[in-house]
């Protein structure tokens, strides 16, 4: 089945399985596989020894683990746990598939630390002082590779990456012998640390490939029965402006704008034909960085809260501040910003400005700039639909509405701004999919 041109790995696998069953080629379980297990076990130990990485503790657990592994391999799927990780400049995004269809046999054979990882993740919504599980984004009763379960979305600051790796070492993550699929720049930057500290080998994946995969997949499975994609109706009218579901069934061509610490803009023509059109260094990192310097805040949430309370017009110089009204000759409305932070050239105004206003102005400046670069790219690429993703948009309705407004207003209604519920998690979803269905 193709949705958005994306072939869902679970559906596909299910079909294959059915065929095999129908053709009477179903593999018999138990004894036969048990004998194969031993052989595989030996082979694996040999590999582990040769690599010099195996430990005695590994061997103790190897029997049941290997059975599970073979079982998974037989069904063309990797052993649990299933993670996908996206290590960005500011945030690490982790998706975790929690199987809900674990049989009693599996339960019994499940190794201890795998169980403990699952329990730890599922019984908490916060990890350490900075890790957070976005419960509201959880995808329930998802079928992935023939397994039913829930998909969880977890994030923590990239700064805490070493603590995370340390945890991987402490919990003997390496003994699970799973492949850790990682994307984002951190997959490259932290690869040596994963290897040296936690004895973990990363499978490094390109972040843009993962991003697109993730977007197409999540949109295809829908958000617990709701639409993943939405837009704002009447973006130019603050009262009438409303969030509305959008059907992204025939998405191409599509401009995909990923606003993380920095911004990447991709033109997507089909599921595996895309190009990075451009990018800008003025992104979420700039918003937070400037806010921290200007207001002394330290978190994205704080910065956003201040921005929500603030007024940017005290900070920015508007067209009407210069021309007394609209600059009609060039069709510039009086309310348009002529110079971001322009009022701050004046000493008196600098002295009287409040933090909230500065935060708001920073948000508006960064958001509008992304909007205008996006609009130019859309024109140059001749694309009229733009999907904005990335964690800059998390809990940031202000920016989303601004983008929706800007796209609509400056293009005279020609451009549509679309958003996705799982904002910044698509890269990690893409990484997970790569684990389940390697290309």
């Amino acid at each position: 089945m193709e949705v958005n041109g994306y072939r869902c790995p679970d559906e596909g696998d299910a079909e294959t399985e059915e065929k095999e069953t129908a053709g009477g080629k179903q593999q018999r379980p138990s004894k036969e596989s048990a004998s194969r297990t031993k052989a595989a076990d030996c082979a694996e130990n040999a590999v582990a020894a040769a690599a010099g990485g195996g430990t005695s503790r590994d061997r103790l657990a190897s029997n049941s683990r290997t059975r599970q592994r073979i079982d998974s391999l037989k069904k063309n799927r990797p052993p649990f746990p299933w993670f996908g990780m996206d290590i960005g400049g500011t945030l690490v995004k982790l998706v975790y598939f929690e199987p809900k269809d674990i049989t009693a046999e599996e339960e019994q054979e499940e190794v201890e630390n795998l169980k403990s990882i699952r329990k730890y993740l599922m019984s908490n919504v916060a990890y350490g002082s900075t890790g957070i599980r976005d419960v509201h984004l959880e995808l329930k009763d998802l079928t992935l590779c023939g397994r039913k379960g829930n998909l969880h979305f977890i994030r923590f600051p990239t700064q805490d990456m070493s603590a995370f790796i340390q945890m991987g070492q402490d919990k003997h993550f390496s003994s699970l012998h799973t492949t850790l699929c990682a994307t984002g720049g951190g997959a490259y930057k932290f690869e040596p640390d994963f290897r040296k500290m936690a004895d973990l080998q990363l499978l490094k994946l390109d972040e843009l490939d993962c991003l697109i995969k993730g977007v197409l997949y999540i949109d295809s499975v829908k958000f617990n029965g709701h639409s993943e994609c939405y837009y704002f109706e009447n973006p130019t009218d603050p009262v009438q402006c409303q969030k509305k579901p959008y059907n992204l069934e025939n998405p191409y061509p599509l401009l995909l704008v990923n606003i993380g610490s920095g911004v990447s803009i991709l033109a997507v023509y089909s599921k595996d034909n895309y190009k990075r059109v451009t990018g800008t260094s003025l992104g979420g990192g700039t918003f937070l960085g400037l806010c921290c310097l200007l207001t002394g805040c330290s978190t994205f949430e704080e910065a956003l809260e201040m921005a929500t309370c603030g007024e940017s017009t005290t900070v920015d110089k508007l067209v009407r501040d210069i021309y007394g009204g609209d600059y009609e000759r060039f069709g510039l409305p009086g309310w348009a910003v002529a110079s971001s932070f322009g009022n701050m050239m004046c000493k008196e105004k600098r002295e009287s400005v409040c933090k909230e206003d500065l935060a708001r102005a920073t948000l508006v400046t960064i958001t509008n700039n992304i909007g205008s670069i996006t609009r130019m790219c859309a024109l140059n690429e001749n694309i009229d639909r733009v999907v904005f993703v990335g964690n800059f948009l998390r809990i940031n309705t202000l920016s989303m509405k601004l983008l929706a407004y800007a796209m609509d207003y400056w293009s005279k209604g020609q451009l549509k701004a679309l958003f996705l519920e799982h904002e910044g998690y698509f890269g990690s979803v893409g990484a997970l999919l790569e684990l389940l269905n390697p290309t």
Binding site: G88, G89, T90, P157, T158, Q159, G184, G185, G186, Y188, K189, E191, D206, L208, G260, S261, G262, R276, T278, T280, S281, L282, G283, G284, G285, T286, L288, G289, L290, C292, L293, L294, S298, V315, D316, K317, I322, R329, F330, A336, V337, A338, S339, S340, F341, G342, N343, M344, M345, K347, R350, L358, T365, N369, S372, I373, M376, C377, L379, N380
Partner: protein
């Protein structure tokens, strides 16, 4: 009024009541009219039109009704007053606006002026002050319209107006040749915000986009972050900072490059990204630098996106964010190179700060039709590019108290390209760019400085009856020496530095102090002398065989060209040894093979059919024109070739001027039937080049000359002399046959070309098929 302002002095704490040296800043106010003012955030630009009364040397034929007497000179030289039009543009700090307006009012005589055109953000703020002080009605003009009008004007009228900036290169400025067709282009004006304007023709332009992230963002945000108030200081901070301490780079995320996308590790992934995570103090310098990069990159990126969308490759940057600041020119250039992968060059303008005032002035002067004339930058009255790298001279960047000036002279004639240039857009008149060639620059600057004594002496000698000649000559010496010193430090101050620009600057300075034609008497005497030998030379030629005669003609032309007061070696000989004559010159001449020698090719060509029409750019008076050029002209006429003789419109050194040429030709025609019939049958035509330079810019020639060249189907261009054929045009490629000849009368240059003094260059070229 208290303290006196010293031009070029610094310090922004200066007393605001100042005494302006009137002659040096607001010049020619007594005839000033058509005022325009552009008041920006910190600088005011005043523009006005004025007339300058200055002396010109005129020559006039005596009315010989009676018999000619032996001792009477062949024509009369007189100095007359002439009035020419000049545009004045003066830039000063807003702080001085009241004082300046008072000064202008006090010196304004002309009463017909009723309005002042005003533009710029401050025009509104200062409206009342303007009306009160000047008693003129303020007439506001649209800022953008003025900007574009001004831009078109400088691009059209000032050669080397546009340049690209290359940090750490030698030179940092690469000036662009004036493109005959300036449209279409993109103008990115970076004031407090950014406007991106597409200009398609003189009257057609459109603001296609813009950005709110501009100079105001740098200034405002920079002031908040660093507690530094002044824009210039912020730039200085930035020039000392390290943005990598504040920005998150690709390598901070990837550990190295993002190779599959070709993003190098040093690229900025997130501006200010480190200040979002690292809990530490950041230095002012580093933050300022990061901010500068953020804004420059953003503007560059948008400019590129617009340029691409509208398919434009010429992008000019201006506005107070740029205005000659090497720091911002560098970051913008970097950004444009990055985003277009070198396909688009960021261009900057030397007179960018004046565009608004020029445009406002032009709006007010529409009835004078300023755009139908050609204008030229007056090097004597213009300050040149003030920009200096702040790392090198931090103090000079604080420009408070300085007055910057631009003066443009209305040229008598409209200037156009020589239609015979193969590719006018790639034509560069000058052979050597002294901004690039440090060795040559050093030589020529010294050479001109050494020659200064002689020039001063000559100037004084040319006006024996005028009491103040010595004083003015000393003023000239001071001014020109100052220009040379400026150029030593800032070779790019007036665009590309060339031998031509050094010569032209000298002429402008001489004119400035009313020495319009220091060589007039010398030219007169030499013309007189040479005329007496004309017939003898011609008849001696006629006795020769055809082949010998052709060689004798060329040799005569070359020998004649040795008589040149522009070359120091020759002027020494001429001053000390008056017996140095035509025959002596022939003996001194290099024997064949010459340094550059295509004589055989030339003679072969002469054996073929005659040329339809030859255009001859002549050089010196006296022996050169009379005994060198005219015999050859005569020969060409006899062959059936029409001849167009092009001479300078105004005086420069001992070069023949158009007026002199007319008289000389008349005299020669009176004694030579070939020349006579050439004139009467309209086969020998005299034209003026439109130039007053010892060199020749084939892209700025009198329109009348271009018309004649076209009408006559000119198929041969002869360019004679060092100034026109060596210093300039040596590499000029024409669509027809060309002959460039000169004697190298400077031993340094001769050596450089691989020869000795008095080496001969005889360069005959046929157009490529």
């Amino acid at each position: 009024m208290a303290a006196c302002v010293e031009i070029g002095g610094g310090g922004h704490s200066m007393d605001k009541s100042i005494t302006l040296p009137p002659d040096e800043i607001f010049r020619n106010l007594e005839n000033a009219k058509r005022f325009a003012i552009d008041i920006g955030g910190s600088l005011t630009k005043l523009a006005y039109f004025s007339t300058v009364q200055h002396k010109v040397a005129k020559v006039r034929s005596f009315d010989h009704t009676g018999k000619e007497t032996e001792d009477e000179p062949l024509y009369e030289v007189s100095v007359q007053e002439e009035i020419t039009a000049r545009l004045h543009f003066i830039k000063f700090e807003n702080a001085y606006i009241e004082t300046c307006l008072d000064f202008v009012k006090d010196h304004l005589v002309n009463t017909e002026t009723k309005v002042i055109k005003a533009t710029g953000g401050g025009a509104h703020k200062f409206k009342d002050l303007l009306e009160k002080k000047l008693k003129l009605k303020v007439d506001k003009e649209d800022e953008m319209t003025c900007l574009i009008k001004g831009c078109n004007f400088v691009l059209r009228n000032i050669p080397h107006e546009a340049f690209v900036y290359v940090k750490h290169a030698e030179p940092e400025f690469r000036f662009q040749t004036t493109h005959p067709d300036i449209f279409p282009y993109l103008l990115v004006s970076i004031g407090s915000g950014v406007s991106i304007v597409k200009v398609e023709s003189e009257d057609k332009f459109e603001r296609i986009g813009g950005s709110s992230i501009g100079g105001g963002t740098f200034w405002g945000l920079g002031a908040l972050l660093t507690k530094t108030k002044r824009f210039d200081e912020l730039l200085q901070l930035a020039s000392r900072g390290q943005h990598t301490n504040v920005d998150m780079l690709v390598k901070d995320i990837y550990g190295g490059a993002y190779e599959s996308l070709g993003l190098t590790g040093d690229l900025i992934a997130s501006s200010f990204g480190k200040s979002a995570t690292a809990d530490k103090e950041f230095s002012k310098e580093d933050m300022a630098k990061s901010l500068l990069h953020m804004i420059s990159n953003d503007i560059g990126q948008l400019a590129c996106l617009y340029a691409k969308l509208h398919n434009l490759s010429r992008v000019y940057f201006g506005g107070f964010f740029i205005r000659g600041h090497p720091v911002t020119m560098h970051t913008i250039t970097y950004s444009i190179n990055f985003f277009t992968k070198g396909e688009v060059q960021a261009l900057f303008l030397r007179h960018e700060g004046y565009l608004g005032s020029i445009g406002a002035f032009l709006k007010g002067a529409e009835e004078d039709n300023p755009n139908q004339y050609s204008w030229g930058e007056n090097y004597a009255g213009s300050s040149g590019l003030m920009s200096i790298s702040p790392d090198m001279f931090p103090m000079q960047r604080t420009r408070s108290g300085t007055f910057d000036m631009l003066e443009m002279d209305r040229l008598e004639r409209e200037l156009v390209n020589l239609p015979l240039l193969l590719d006018s857009s790639s034509y560069i008149p000058d052979t050597v760019d002294l901004t690039e060639d440090a060795l040559a620059r050093e030589y020529w600057l010294s050479c001109f400085e050494e020659a200064l004594d002689g020039v001063v002496k000559r100037a004084v000698a040319s006006q024996p009856d005028l009491q103040d000649a010595r004083e003015r000559a000393e003023k000239f010496r001071h001014k020109y020496r100052h220009k040379l010193q400026t150029l030593r430090h800032q070779p790019c101050a007036y665009g590309s530095l060339t031998v031509r620009s050094l010569l032209d600057t000298r002429e402008h300075c001489l004119n400035e102090f009313n020495f319009p034609d220091p060589y007039s008497q010398i030219k007169q005497r030499e013309n007189d002398l040479a005329l007496r030998y004309f017939q003898k030379v011609v008849s001696s030629m006629e006795m020769l065989s055809w082949e010998d005669r052709q060689f004798a003609l060329v040799k005569g032309l070359l020998a004649g060209n040795m008589f040149d007061w522009g070359a120091k070696a020759v002027s020494d000989v001429l001053e000390t040894d008056p017996t140095f004559g035509f025959d002596e010159a022939k003996r001194q001449l290099q024997e064949r093979p010459w340094l550059v020698d295509s004589y055989s090719k030339w003679i072969e060509r002469l054996k073929g059919p005659p040329h339809k029409c030859a255009l001859f750019f002549i050089d010196n008076s006296g022996i050169d024109i009379i005994l060198g050029v005219f015999p050859l002209v005569r020969e060409l006429l006899c062959r059936g070739t029409e001849v167009v003789l092009a001479s300078n419109s105004g005086p420069a050194l001992n070069d023949v001027t158009y007026n002199e040429l007319q008289i000389l030709t008349e005299k020669i025609a009176a004694m030579d039937s070939v020349i006579h019939s050439g004139i009467t049958k309209d086969r020998l035509i005299l034209v003026q080049s439109g130039s007053s330079s010892p060199c020749l810019d084939l892209s700025r020639l009198d329109k009348g000359l271009a018309t004649v060249v076209n009408e006559r189907h000119t198929d041969l261009v002869v360019i004679e002399g060092m100034g026109r054929a060596i210093h300039t045009n040596y590499y000029a490629v024409l669509r027809c046959e060309s002959l460039k000849l000169a004697v190298i009368k400077n031993s340094w240059l001769a050596e450089r070309l691989g020869g000795k003094i008095y080496s001969v260059v005889f360069k005959y070229e046929q157009p490529r098929e």
